[in-house]
């Protein structure tokens, strides 16, 4: 997305010089993410919602729950689909119209990070096997872009799903009917948290700002769950990682991820 960004040469040199001295432009350590605040319930009419502010990046995630026909090959499981959109208000270069590849990647990585972690026990979201299941949609809207949308969407989604309420449904005449005023807790099993690292001039930096994103050589997003297991990975950018770097990145993401997990837990 920042592929349209021109970081001026002066800034580029400044960032690289500081890195050689072990410093980042905003004074953070290499393994330090920006300040994260999470507010849940910001969209009261949705079944769940959360606003995540990671530095100056801001994402609003809304959870909608409704009965759906199950996928043909998984009639015994509910549905969980995450999407992400960079709203045109978020950045001067954000476009309207059909999503460009970087936005499609953002949406799919966010979706995999939540789904592959097994965050929700989908077997508990069935109303009638092969006929009617509960569908959970978590839609992320990026409202302000200052880099690292992968993590901001991950945190907003996890917080929103973690705090959502599933309406109660009853099958009447083969159709699911909502029972007004009755809700259940979501069948949570774990809290997935992603940590994105940028590789710049051989250094690994956690939670890149939009400027660091604009000059990075490569990046990797690693999602871990509450047990400290790795559940999703995405490498991007035009350079490569060495084996040692990849192992270091995984360790970093589990370490940093567990602190972020606490913040998400506190938000409920």
């Amino acid at each position: 997305m920042s592929d349209g960004l021109i970081i001026d040469q002066l800034k580029k040199n400044q960032i690289l010089d500081l890195l050689q001295e072990g410093k980042r432009v905003d004074g953070r350590q290499f393994d330090e993410p920006r300040k994260l605040t999470i507010d849940i319930g910001v969209i009261p009419k949705a079944e769940g919602s959360a606003r995540a502010r990671l530095g100056d990046t801001e994402v609003v995630a809304g959870v909608k729950v409704q009965p759906e026909r199950p996928f043909p090959d998984t009639g015994d499981k509910g549905m969980l689909i995450c999407t992400a959109e960079i709203l045109p208000i978020a950045h001067p270069s954000a476009e309207t119209g059909p999503p460009q590849p970087p936005v499609v990647e953002l949406a799919r990585v966010t979706d995999r990070g939540i789904r592959e972690s097994g965050m929700l026990d989908m077997k508990q979201l069935v109303l009638e096997k092969d006929k009617s299941v509960i569908g959970i949609f978590c839609d992320n809207a990026v409202t302000d872009h200052d880099g690292n949308l992968f993590d901001a969407c991950s945190y907003a989604s996890t917080a929103a799903i973690n705090s959502c309420k599933i309406p109660k449904y009853e099958m009447q005449d083969e159709k699911p009917v909502k029972i007004e005023g009755e809700f259940t807790e979501p069948p949570l099993t774990t809290l997935p948290v992603s940590v994105t690292m940028a590789k710049i001039g051989g250094f690994i930096l956690v939670d890149p700002t939009i400027e660091e994103w604009g000059i990075m050589d490569a990046r990797i997003t690693i999602t871990s769950n509450s047990d400290g297991n790795v559940v999703a990975l995405q490498k991007g950018g035009s350079d490569g990682f060495t084996q040692e770097e990849l192992i270091k990145c995984a360790e970093l993401s589990i370490k940093v991820g567990s602190k972020i997990r606490e913040i998400i837990k506190q938000s409920k």
């Binding site: 969209i43 001067p92 949609f137």
Partner: protein, 245 residues
């Protein structure tokens, strides 16, 4: 629209509406100017349970170049509802309703925005509905005016929005979602309060000529009330001396 049988009492014997308001009362409106870091101008508006975020970019370069006009700047508006903003999840792709509302709001703002000051550029207004509860186009228009002023785009006047309507045979001000679904008429209005001109006007429903006159009158009154909130939002951001923003 119009007159669906409902259990909700739209107007009781004391003249109180389903959400506790009187017939000529608007819902609570709050506006904050300058809420986004990247946008040139922005505003967040809560109009009853509507929650709308507006961002403005511009004047800025137009791409592709052939869309620009050598004599004047152009105004581009996008009204968009988030999938989680309504009762049943909405597909993120723009619907025909959103396309129409975008156009209607653009034409409501054009009389106010002084586009000739910026030839060959565009001013982009993006309105994102995060939560909808009836009257979103008026709320979006209201927020858009504040965001444009926040961005420093020269305007002849602000544009304030408020809908009038009819429910349970009574003319009402500021139609909420239940009243829109089950009521008899919905008349959204956009109004320039100093120049005293209506720049947005639509009707969905049936009104007698007398009711139509009353709706316009009560609607303008509502717009004037909303204008005071727009003024306050700009004053709070720009004129609060000694206070850190």
């Amino acid at each position: 629209m119009g007159g669906r049988d409902t259990d909700i009492v739209l107007l009781d014997e004391n003249g109180i509406r389903c959400d506790g308001r009187k017939v000529n009362e608007t819902r609570k409106v709050t506006i904050k100017a300058g809420v986004l870091k990247n946008a040139n101008g922005s505003a967040y508006i809560e109009f009853g349970d509507n929650k709308i975020l507006v961002g403005v970019y511009g004047p800025r370069d137009v791409h592709p170049k052939h869309m620009s006009d050598t004599d004047t700047g152009i105004l581009r508006c996008r009204y968009h509802m988030a999938p989680f903003s309504v009762g049943e999840r909405k597909n993120p792709a723009p619907s025909r309703r959103e396309v129409e509302i975008s156009k209607v709001i653009k034409e409501a703002l054009e009389p106010a925005v002084m586009l000739k000051e910026f030839p060959r550029t565009a001013v982009d207004v993006y309105m994102e509905v995060l939560q909808a509860d009836g009257g979103t186009r008026c709320a979006a228009l209201t927020g858009a005016s504040v965001a444009l002023a926040d961005a420093g785009i020269p305007m002849r006047d602000l544009v304030a929005g408020c809908a009038a309507g009819k429910a349970a045979d009574a003319v009402i001000l500021d139609v909420n979602n239940e009243e829109d679904q089950a009521g008899q008429a919905d008349l959204p209005i956009g109004y320039m309060p100093n120049l005293k001109k209506i720049t947005l006007l639509q009707l969905d429903g049936v009104l007698t000529p007398e009711e139509y006159k009353q709706c316009i009158e009560i609607g303008i009154d509502g717009c004037n009330q909303v204008y005071e909130i727009q003024k306050k939002a700009l004053q709070d951001k720009f004129f609060a001396s000694g206070e850190k923003q």
